[in-house]
């Protein structure tokens, strides 16, 4: 098999301000072979779409390069086409016109344009809807138009940016199987690269799964998926594969580190606060309580209808506060967590306060506010402190979490108008 696209040591950073920049993607390397469906799996905000835009040639990597069939991609690659998360259909054009728009730059004869349009409307199940305008169609039908438009230009490599995340779950299942049918039956697209945060979708569609994670985002692992097609969401092998990926993600995001290292870490490092509000953390604990104090993290994600990336963030926060332990992919109460959930609101706040003041970053910033001459600090000062101590993190996000946690504990107050953080 030939390599169709090679992503070589690609990194990307964005400037936060004139002085600072934040690295989003780091040292990403992988190949896409001919006749292969490849998935990129990662939580939202991890830079997956950015990666897709670099492969397409819209965005230049900060370092590293993308090769297409051995040639460096330095302008928009004519052999690829894209399907968008929000469909990107023009509301003033009907289905047929939206598809034909993509064909215009190819300088085809009128007959050919007509031929291709009819062909792609047929294979995407849009026959009869040619005259309809996007706003008259459901999300699923709109994405069919997006797929039809992408297929019309006959791309060798089809890029898909979370194509089914804004489509009804049931409709998404049928769209996935139709997509695989199209890919198996036709010459082009030879390969598909799909970005997703849905583990089941990724296992169903792809031959190779690239798992992203960490900060900045790096490749955690690349998994070959050799399950025979057609795949069945409910078969034992399929579920095992899903489980296997669950384990990989939890192992990388919620590692089971022995207690001593954990405490040592607390002494020496400033810990990044995961982006989770007190409401979400307490909600997770309540959920756990009503499910016997023990549950599987991915089961929780399904039950609560949340992205697993979010649940992992919340779990991380709860673990940081010593409310839960995470042996492998399950979550269990600690004694503190149990005590917290059984207390009334006043006691909860006391426990919460004690737990967050155990965190070095919170304690450090709290002391700083306390020791300031006027009894308050500006947001800017705190942001500076955060970015000095945690250069890899987005200071605004950490600040937001810091404020929400200390507000819940009734120890600090924040006025967004004057941007002053004061003692409560």
């Amino acid at each position: 098999m030939n390599v169709i696209c090679n992503v070589n040591n690609v990194s990307q950073s964005f400037s936060l301000s004139t002085k600072k920049s934040l690295e989003i993607l780091k040292d990403i390397t992988f190949d896409i072979y001919e006749n292969e469906v490849v998935s990129i799996l990662g939580p939202s905000g991890s830079g997956k779409s950015t990666l897709l835009r670099m492969i397409c040639g819209i965005l230049k990597p900060s370092s590293g390069s993308v090769f297409y069939k051995g040639k460096l991609v330095d302008s928009i690659n004519p052999n690829v086409s894209m399907v968008f998360q929000n469909f990107a259909l023009l509301p003033w054009l009907n289905v047929e016109e939206n598809i034909k728009l993509a064909l215009k730059p190819l300088n085809l004869s009128k007959n050919d344009i007509e031929k291709y349009t009819i062909m792609v409307t047929k294979i995407t199940g849009l026959s009869g809807f040619e005259e309809a305008y996007p706003k008259e169609l459901s999300g699923g039908m709109q994405q069919r138009v997006g797929v039809a438009r992408a297929l019309a230009v006959n791309p060798e490599l089809l890029l898909m940016d979370e194509p089914f995340s804004h489509v009804d779950t049931l409709v998404a299942e049928s769209l996935r199987s139709e997509l695989i049918d199209i890919w198996e039956q036709r010459g082009n697209p030879k390969s598909i690269l799909i970005v997703s945060h849905d583990i089941k979708e990724v296992v169903y569609l792809s031959d190779k799964i690239i798992v992203l994670g960490g900060k900045p985002t790096q490749i955690k692992t690349i998994i070959e998926n050799k399950l025979p097609r057609p795949r069945d969401y409910r078969s034992i092998d399929f579920l095992n594969m899903v489980d296997y990926i669950h384990d990989i993600i939890t192992a990388s995001d919620l590692p089971d580190i022995p207690e001593t290292i954990e405490t040592q870490r607390k002494e020496n490092f400033f810990e990044a606060l995961p982006e989770a509000s007190p409401g979400e953390i307490v909600g997770l604990l309540e959920f756990l309580d009503s499910h016997g104090g023990y549950d599987d993290i991915f089961h929780i994600a399904v039950e609560l209808n949340r992205e697993f990336g979010d649940i992992i963030k919340i779990t991380k926060a709860a673990e940081l506060l010593d409310f839960v332990d995470t042996p492998r992919r399950s979550i269990v109460f600690t004694t503190i967590g149990r005590k917290f959930i059984e207390s009334d609101i006043e006691h909860r706040k006391q426990i919460w306060k004690k737990e967050i003041l155990d965190l070095r970053l919170v304690r450090y910033l709290f002391e700083a506010v306390k020791k300031s001459d006027k009894g308050f600090l500006y947001k800017e000062d705190i942001l500076n402190e955060i970015s000095n101590n945690l250069p890899q993190e987005d200071p605004e996000k950490i600040f937001k979490t810091f404020i929400s946690w200390t507000r819940y504990a009734d120890i600090l107050a924040y006025d967004s108008e004057t941007e002053e953080v004061t003692l409560q």
Partner: protein, 579 residues
């Protein structure tokens, strides 16, 4: 404690020291404003001088600039009060709405000079022994250039208040003042501020006309920046003109920095949004105000006043509960007063129409022919103005909107150019026309363009900023040609905004015609065929019937064009909304 030692290196004392300097600065600022206004008031009341002598010295220019600024601010205060009452009345009272909205439509299309003779003659007669009459006349004319779009903006946003908010208000039994203070005022404040900025620019536009004019064989001239420019233009003194232009720019920049930017930054908190994702606007002046103790002081006084008034409300309600006559009293306020006001307005309109008809009854048919011919000339000019304005602003505006970095750099320059009253540049442009032998019939189009193209540009930029990034990416991924991207994507996506820009620009162009078709330069008056020139001539010559007829025809053309063309175009454009 290693970490904390880093912290103690930051000197937080600097931050509060600033406040003492800030306090002093504000005290000085307040005192100087107080001085200027009392001085201005003293000048206005102390003597009668309908034709002031204008000195072209720099010291006088500084004084004149402050006088003009005072006039504009007083006019703006009037506009603000008028806007609140007029807009609120229309919002609360169905009958008022159906009557007052069309009146507003017509008033807005009457050019400043249309109000001139009536206002001036009436006010001078009222105050025969001082300059107050003339000053007031000038202020009211500036007011007519400011007020209409504020009323439209205020009323428009009042109508968009979510129904849930009104339900909350009735659920918690808020009285009208509480409702105004907690719901209606906060929801409209943002648009009110933006419209105020536009209105100030509208007021400056006719400053020269408002400070120096002729009625019949009488000349009127007030000391001010506008009259300074007029005199400089008549003398052909280019140095003085340049100083005048610089003074105007200084006023615009100062207003922007000291009033508008702080207000915009302050109003951010009233936006109906529940997320804090977008970075709020900042103003250095507002930050300074927050640092100083003045705002706190004012806030404390305000709190005291409101608690007293709230207590009064509670007391009132207690008394009212005992008192059955409350219902009758309320009925009186809710039903009788508005109806009385409305009947008065209707009576006034009927009376005014009767007077106007009496006046224009005797106008000979060949004069009517001239009026209509001039009107169509101006109509053609307005349309060409919009066409030319669109030709450059559409591509440029889209380009700016799609590159946020560039638009951020250029924004202040564009904003100042847009707020600068174009008529102040007219004498210079006319000089160029004179050298190049350009007829004013065509030249006036350029003059009208200078005042109105900004409305189109602003709207195009706003439209381009609103195109979803996925759609822009889509155009690139599918390698659509530049023309294809422009015609199939960008142009259509900005079309709804473009139409709004056209409507505002057309209104501005009609109004600008009275200064663009009739220009004073080096003691010459240059005029061309057009309804604007006709109105200007009629006002100068005090030919009231001709003036009334011309203004009427122009207003009707504008209103008809709005109803027949712009309204339909607007409806059509709503199909092109991307979001």
């Amino acid at each position: 404690m290693l970490g904390l030692s880093i912290f103690s290196n930051i000197n937080f004392d600097i931050v509060k020291k600033r406040s003492l300097i800030a306090d002093l600065a504000f005290l000085l600022l307040l005192l100087s404003i107080l001085y200027i206004i009392t001085h201005y008031a003293y000048r206005a009341t102390s003597h009668v001088n309908y034709e002031a002598n204008i000195s072209l010295s720099l010291v006088s220019l500084a004084k004149y600039s402050l006088y003009s600024l005072s006039r504009a601010l007083i006019a703006f205060a009037l506009s603000f009060v008028f806007t609140i009452f007029y807009g609120y009345f229309m919002y609360k009272n169905k009958t008022a709405q159906s009557l007052l909205l069309p009146i507003l439509d017509i008033l807005q299309s009457i050019p400043v000079l249309g109000f001139l003779p009536a206002v001036v003659l009436a006010l001078i007669a009222l105050f025969p022994h001082s300059n107050i009459g003339l000053e007031l006349a000038s202020i009211i004319m500036i007011f007519t250039g400011q007020v209409w779009n504020m009323v439209f903006g205020f009323y428009g946003t009042l109508k968009t208040i979510p129904e849930e908010f009104n339900e909350v208000a009735s659920l918690y039994k808020l009285n009208w003042f509480q409702k105004f203070r907690w719901i209606e005022f906060p929801t409209t404040i943002s648009s009110l501020i933006w419209n105020s900025m536009m209105s100030m620019a509208g007021g400056w536009f006719f400053l020269m006309v408002c400070e120096e004019f002729t009625l019949g064989n009488k000349n009127f001239r007030l000391e001010g920046l506008g009259s300074y420019m007029s005199v400089a233009a008549n003398e052909g003194n280019y140095t003085a003109m340049a100083y005048g232009i610089l003074a105007m720019i200084a006023i615009i920049v100062a207003l922007d920095q000291f009033i508008w930017q702080p207000l915009v930054a302050w109003s951010e908190k009233f936006k109906i949004e529940y997320s804090l994702n977008s970075k709020p606007k900042e103003s250095w002046f507002l930050n300074l105000l927050i640092d100083s103790n003045i705002l706190e002081f004012a806030n404390n006084i305000y709190k005291k006043i409101t608690t007293i008034s709230e207590k009064k409300f509670i007391n009132l309600e207690r008394i009212n509960k005992k008192n059955r006559s409350k219902k009758n009293k309320n009925l009186f306020f809710i039903n009788i007063i508005p109806n009385l006001v409305l009947s008065l307005i209707v009576f006034f309109i009927l009376f005014a129409s009767y007077k106007v008809i009496l006046m224009i009854k005797y106008i000979p048919s060949n004069t009517w022919y001239t009026i209509f011919k001039s009107d169509s000339y101006t109509l053609i000019r307005v349309l060409i103005t919009i066409l030319i304005g669109s030709l450059w602003t559409i591509p440029f505006g889209i380009y700016l909107g799609l590159s946020p970095k560039l638009s951020k750099i250029l924004q202040p320059i564009i904003q100042i150019s847009a707020s600068f009253p174009a008529p102040m540049l007219f004498p210079i442009i006319i000089g160029i026309f004179y050298v190049l032998h350009i007829n004013l019939s065509y030249g006036s189009i350029i003059l009208m363009l200078m005042g109105t193209q900004w409305y189109i540009l602003f709207n195009v930029i706003a439209g381009a900023l609103n195109i979803p990034s996925e759609i822009i990416t889509m155009g690139k991924v599918f390698k659509l040609s530049l023309w294809e991207r422009f015609s199939s994507i960008y142009f259509k996506a900005i079309f709804p905004y473009l139409v709004t820009g056209w409507i505002t620009a057309a209104g501005g162009a009609w109004n600008a015609s009275i200064v663009a078709e009739y220009v004073n330069f080096k003691n010459h008056t240059i005029a061309t065929t057009g309804i604007g020139a006709l109105i200007a001539q009629a006002a100068n010559a005090e030919q009231i019937p001709l003036l009334a007829a011309s203004v009427l025809v122009m207003a009707l053309t504008v209103v008809l064009f709005n109803k027949l063309v712009w309204k339909n175009l607007y409806k059509l454009s709503q199909n092109y909304k991307v979001r």
